[in-house]
């Protein structure tokens, strides 16, 4: 057997694959073979490391060297220098933007320092396509422990005591959910994993499925043991081909090992898992809509109660949890409820994975203890705002969440605090905005998403969101009135109060939270101004005569012929003809064109 003295962990997540990490792996293997090192150095394709801003990532073990933005052609240098000569390739190391110095050990990177990885524990560490690596990391030991040491009731008790709450958005206590499902008697019950991740910018579920699929399988088997179900279903969107492929491999491996099937680990428990595909409708993340979609019906929610715990898939008692929730279960069983509940805040225990995006330096996937502040997340882990701009707002919870501001930065993040501030946890999307972002436009953007994704079943969501979007459109086009702002308030609160499902009930949040936190910006739009200078209706492109050299570059690119002037003389823009596309400004080499 090969005795590896060095492991090269290469990220095989969707993001890094898009940047040719597959080719990189091939190249590394080829170079190793050429140098006769393929029995000494092992190349491992892992799941996501989270630091997607700088992918593809290569992590060299045992010395914890963290290479970023590695191209396939860098394989040779890494092997020759690092693997053979033991010298780190300094040009591929991550450079701390604040200290402006290279960091070789990932443990010293700001991005990782505040993180505690529970749900992501195996992502970027093991090969997700190899069950042996999962087992070596105590995989399926939690299942073994539950089956041999605990009764189903006791297992549920552990989950209850741990304080784990649903990571899909609403934060319902997981143990309680399992208990409900366990109380309904039926021959057929179902354990469902909701992998219909739909928030724009959120990809934690995908990363877990790609990086650690067995943890989900293990948790579902444990859940099946607890509620008395024999069947598991993973509802995953078809746009996640890599996650699907790895799930399939994992399911097959688990079946081969007898960890799925009849009499698991010699117990009386029998359980198997099937994959169901979703077509990517956002509303199918709502559990009743998800169940209807799996049944082959139109993916739309139904009134609860009855809850799925009573009448779910095919009318049978069903437990639906999200991927990240399941991913935390095996660790809780192994390390105990007390360990998990020692992390986090009073009502929100453990950690939460967030997808950082927007105008932030370190875009990526992070996992922090509940109670970490937004400031820590954005400025320490996230490395602050891009291009040295000022922070303006952060949108949490995706299209269902709200925009939080400067004044919310020091609030410890947990379910209750986010809701109290007018936003929500959601699935953990976090989009950062800077001073250049117009909040009315931001609200409009989110509403466009909801309008697009509404199933159309209930009137408030179907028509109400459309009407709100139209009002925002009027505001950004300069046709706003102050009555419109009142209407937004009324529509927003009525939709929240009357919509059928979670999608509709939370869809006005981006509008309501920006109305509350950035009321002045709405008023400014009514008065004919866009403070961020984003809305084209309120801006003019002007040529500063002093700076204009009359080079005619702008006249040549202007699509409407709005710019005129003699060669070598200052030019002018005909405001009536100008469509405010901004091409002239980008083309001007002399910064002579300004937005007023």
């Amino acid at each position: 057997m090969a005795q590896y003295k060095m492991h090269l962990l290469v990220c095989g997540g969707t993001g890094c694959r898009a940047s040719e990490s597959t080719k990189l792996v091939e190249n590394l293997q080829t170079v190793l073979r050429t140098n006769g090192l393929d029995n000494e150095v092992q190349v491992v394709t892992t799941g996501c490391f989270g630091f997607c801003e700088k992918g593809p990532i290569v992590k060299v073990m045992p010395d914890n060297t963290f290479y970023v933005e590695v191209k396939p052609k860098d394989a040779e240098e890494i092997i020759n220098e690092h693997a053979i000569k033991g010298r780190k390739v300094s040009r591929l190391l991550y450079v701390d933007p604040k200290k402006e110095e290279a960091v070789s050990d990932s443990k010293h990177m700001g991005f990782y320092q505040k993180q505690i990885r529970i749900a992501l524990r195996n992502c970027g560490f093991i090969n997700p396509e190899n069950i042996d690596e999962y087992i070596a990391r105590d995989g399926y030991a939690a299942l073994g422990k539950a089956l041999t040491e605990y009764s189903p009731e006791q297992t549920i008790d552990v989950i209850k005591k741990s304080g784990l709450r649903g990571r899909g958005g609403a934060g319902f206590p997981t143990g309680l959910k399992w208990e409900f499902a366990s109380k309904y008697k039926d021959n057929e019950k179902y354990v469902v994993c909701n992998a219909d991740e739909g928030d724009p910018g959120a990809f934690m579920d995908r990363s877990i499925l790609e990086g650690d699929p067995h943890s989900i399988l293990e948790a579902m088997i444990i859940c099946g043991y607890c509620i008395g179900a024999r069947n598991g279903l993973i509802y995953i969107r078809a746009e996640y081909p890599l996650a699907i492929q790895r799930l399939k491999i994992a399911i097959n491996q688990a079946r081969e090992y007898g960890l799925l099937g009849e009499n698991i680990l010699g117990s009386s428990l029998s359980f198997d898992i099937e994959i169901r595909y979703g077509a990517g409708a956002f509303v199918c993340g709502e559990e009743t809509a998800l169940i209807h979609s799996m049944e082959g019906e139109r993916g739309e929610p139904t009134v609860k109660p009855p809850f799925p715990a009573e009448a779910g898939y095919l009318g049978k008692p069903t437990n639906v949890n999200n991927v990240e929730t399941y991913a935390s279960v095996p660790v809780i069983i192994l390390k105990g409820a007390d360990w998990f509940s020692s992390i986090g805040t009073e009502k929100s225990k453990g950690t939460k994975v967030f997808a950082l995006a927007g105008k932030i330096n370190n875009v990526g996937l992070i996992e922090v203890p509940m109670g970490t502040t937004l400031r820590e997340v954005i400025f320490e882990i996230g490395g602050g705002i891009k291009n040295g701009k000022a922070f303006k707002a952060v949108q949490t919870g995706g299209p269902s969440g709200g925009c939080l501001t400067e004044k919310h930065l020091d609030i410890p993040i947990d379910f209750e605090n986010l809701v109290a501030s007018g936003s929500m946890m959601g699935s953990g999307g976090m989009i950062v905005m800077d001073e250049d972002d117009c909040m009315v436009s931001v609200a409009k953007f989110y509403l466009e998403f909801t309008v697009e994704e509404s199933c159309g079943k209930c009137a408030p969501c179907r028509v109400g969101n459309k009407r709100m979007q139209e009002i925002l459109d009027q505001l950004t086009k300069g046709n706003g009135t102050s009555e419109m702002i009142d209407q937004l308030y009324n529509l927003g609160s009525v939709i929240k109060d009357t919509a059928l499902c979670g999608l509709g009930q939370t869809s006005p949040n981006p509008v309501l939270s920006t109305l509350q936190n950035f009321h002045n910006e709405y008023v400014a739009h009514v008065e004919g101004r866009c403070p961020a200078g984003q809305c084209r209706a309120f801006i003019q492109f002007l040529i500063i005569a002093k700076k204009c050299t009359g080079c005619t570059a702008c006249t040549r690119v202007c699509p409407t012929g709005a710019i005129t002037g003699e060669r070598k003389q200052p030019h002018t823009i005909d405001q009536l003809a100008c469509i405010k596309c901004g091409v002239c400004q980008r083309k001007c080499k002399f910064n002579a064109i300004e937005v007023m």
């Binding site: 139109r298 139904t302 994704e453 199933c455 179907r462 009525v494 009357t498 919509a499 059928l500």
Partner: protein, 590 residues
């Protein structure tokens, strides 16, 4: 039954467990406005998708407002149905629905019968905010031979979908598209004609707005009446007389046979006849066919197709042509009464009157929308001239009478004309589920046993249960009879037959729940199942009052065979009164 106590608008109510807040409020006289909700008590189901959100109420301890139509009462629940929060929400939601609804109420087919209009009046909506810049969801209009879909007026109540899928299992209408453009339509936005639609019209019967209406033939009718060269002949179906009075404020279940005949004459029809006459004729043909098949069966013929299925209902015919193409030789070949009337009128009567076929216009008044399609079928035309020129619904007739300024309620009772106006009690009961087979039994018994029937009322065949069965002793031979109404029940029965589960000799099937009295062309019942029951009773009342109650005893039928047809199933009868069926499974799916 377990009882639950709750408080609604500060009043204590005690209800049975499983009662919704809406129902509980109703018990104490609080009528919460609803739009999508519809109680279809006679079918044992409720349409309550919880989609319109008009019926929301405040429930203490709940974060959001709750839809009262689908929220179950719980012990100690405190409900407010008219708090300022509820009133504002209800009004805002209705304004939203109206903001995406055409405002052509004045000329809408549903005007006056529209539940959305009624709500807007009730809630006092006077303007719709943002109307100037609000987009409307618009769709391609679709006209079929029976039903017009104007989806701009769809409010997504899903009642039609419930009818089409859960009750009728036809599956022509389903919610399609997402969000603002979500609407109920055939798959892939096909036309209704290219969908599995049977034109039963149950969707039209429940639509709260003008999104689904019948194809209106009254203008054609007025033109025909105004044309002096035309002899306009009308036939009226049995179920019409049990429901037409409702349109004039009369109690449901009032029989208006005489007033209807008078009104039709006033409208200017040259001859006012009765489809019931043709119903008696149907019994002669269908009954004979049944006896022939049973006779062969008893003689040991293994190829004989039993059970025989009735074929009076055009929606049912469409249903089996589309869904059971392997069983096309099972139903009776007898044409429906409407078509038998048409061919007799244009062959026998026209000849008698000395009127040319093309100068005779045969109009039918039907409780049905599928009849509009049926009379347009090619096999019921001669050289392009249809046996029945067009069919108008009970509702259209009522509108015509109102438009002609006829004081319907004060009209004197008049009789039908002869020879095609005489009928028996057996024909009248064609209007209710179980009636056709009961009429057939009355005649078949006497023909088969050659004995006089002492007991004319076969109450074991009556009722409103979806699937019924009974065994009738034909003097030692037991005849097993099955009855289904509602196409969902028909499907269950048919699947059972296909699987060889049943031992029926004859089965009656009606597409509409309740039979023709619950047809898609009848006055709107707005979810009040008592109306269906009252019509049902009226039909049997008319039967009981008839002097002759067996089809073969109708003197004009006897005369028709003597003068014209010869005998039942004769070649002439076969030519004029029987038909054949087509496999439409492909045509409806491609």
């Amino acid at each position: 039954m377990e009882k639950i106590k709750l408080t609604i608008d500060k009043r204590t109510v005690e209800v049975e467990k499983g009662t919704t807040v809406y129902q509980a409020a109703k018990q104490i006289g609080v009528n919460i406005p609803v739009l999508c909700y519809m109680n279809l008590g006679h079918l044992g189901i409720e349409n309550r998708p919880g989609g319109c959100r008009v019926c929301v109420v405040e429930v203490e301890g709940r974060k959001n407002l709750a839809p009262s139509c689908s929220t179950l009462c719980t012990e100690g629940m405190v409900v407010k149905t008219n708090s300022p929060r509820v009133l504002n929400a209800r009004k805002t939601v209705l304004e939203l629905i109206l903001s995406d609804h055409p405002k052509d109420c004045l000329v809408c087919a549903k005007s006056g019968n529209c539940e959305l209009q009624e709500l807007a009046i009730k809630l006092g909506i006077r303007e719709i905010p943002g109307e100037k810049y609000s987009e409307m969801s618009t769709y391609r209009p679709d006209t079929s031979p029976s039903i017009i879909r104007d989806l701009d007026k769809c409010v997504m109540c899903r009642r039609c979908e419930t009818m089409c899928n859960k009750v009728q299992t036809v599956g022509a209408l389903n919610a399609i598209n997402r969000g603002f453009m979500a609407v109920v339509a055939p798959a892939f936005e096909r036309n209704l004609e290219n969908s599995p639609c049977t034109f039963c019209g149950q969707c039209v019967a429940v639509c709260p707005t003008g999104a689904l209406t019948e194809v209106n033939h009254t203008n054609q009718l007025i033109r025909a009446l105004a044309d002096p060269t035309k002899t306009v002949v009308v036939q009226t179906a049995p179920a019409v007389r049990a429901a037409l009075g409702e349109e004039f404020g009369m109690e449901p279940g009032t029989l208006v046979t005489g007033k209807m005949a008078a009104a039709l004459r006033t409208l200017g029809f040259d001859y006012v006849f009765d489809t019931d006459f043709a119903a008696d004729l149907t019994i002669m043909e269908e009954g004979t066919e049944l006896l022939n098949r049973i006779g062969k069966f008893l003689e040991g013929d293994k190829d004989v197709k039993l059970p025989i299925l009735t074929s009076c209902c055009p929606a049912w015919v469409n249903f089996f042509e589309c869904n059971y193409p392997d069983m096309l030789d099972v139903p009776s070949t007898a044409r429906s009464p409407q078509q038998m009337f048409g061919s007799v009128a244009k062959a026998y009567l026209a000849d008698k009157l000395g009127v040319k076929r093309e100068d005779m216009v045969v109009v039918s008044i039907m409780p049905c929308l599928a009849k509009k399609y049926e009379c347009q079928r090619d096999e019921f035309k001669i050289d392009g001239n249809p046996d029945v020129d067009f069919s108008i619904s009970t509702r259209e007739l009522a509108a015509l009478i109102k438009g002609a300024n006829i004081s319907f309620t004060s009209l004197p009772d008049e009789d039908f004309d002869n020879p095609l106006g005489e009928s028996t009690g057996a024909a009248v009961i064609f209007g209710a589920t179980g009636g056709v087979i009961e009429a057939a039994v009355r005649t078949a018994y006497e023909v088969f046993t050659k004995k006089k029937l002492d007991r004319v009322d076969f109450t074991e065949l009556r009722g409103l249960e979806g699937i019924r069965s009974a065994s009738i002793d034909f003097n030692g031979t037991t005849i097993n009879i099955g009855i289904a109404h509602g196409l969902g029940n028909a499907r269950k029965l048919l699947d059972g037959i296909r699987a060889g589960m049943y031992n029926f000799h004859a089965i009656e099937i009606m597409a509409c729940p309740g039979g023709c009295i619950g047809g898609g062309g009848q006055p709107y019942h707005h979810g009040n199942s008592e109306i269906i029951k009252a019509r049902h009773q009226a039909i049997y009342r008319e039967d009981a009052e008839k002097p002759i109650r067996k089809s073969h005893e109708n003197p004009y039928i006897v005369k028709l065979y003597e003068e014209f047809l010869g005998s039942p199933m004769s070649e002439k009868a076969h030519h004029l009164l029987h038909t054949h069926y087509f496999d439409k499974s492909k045509q409806k799916q491609d």
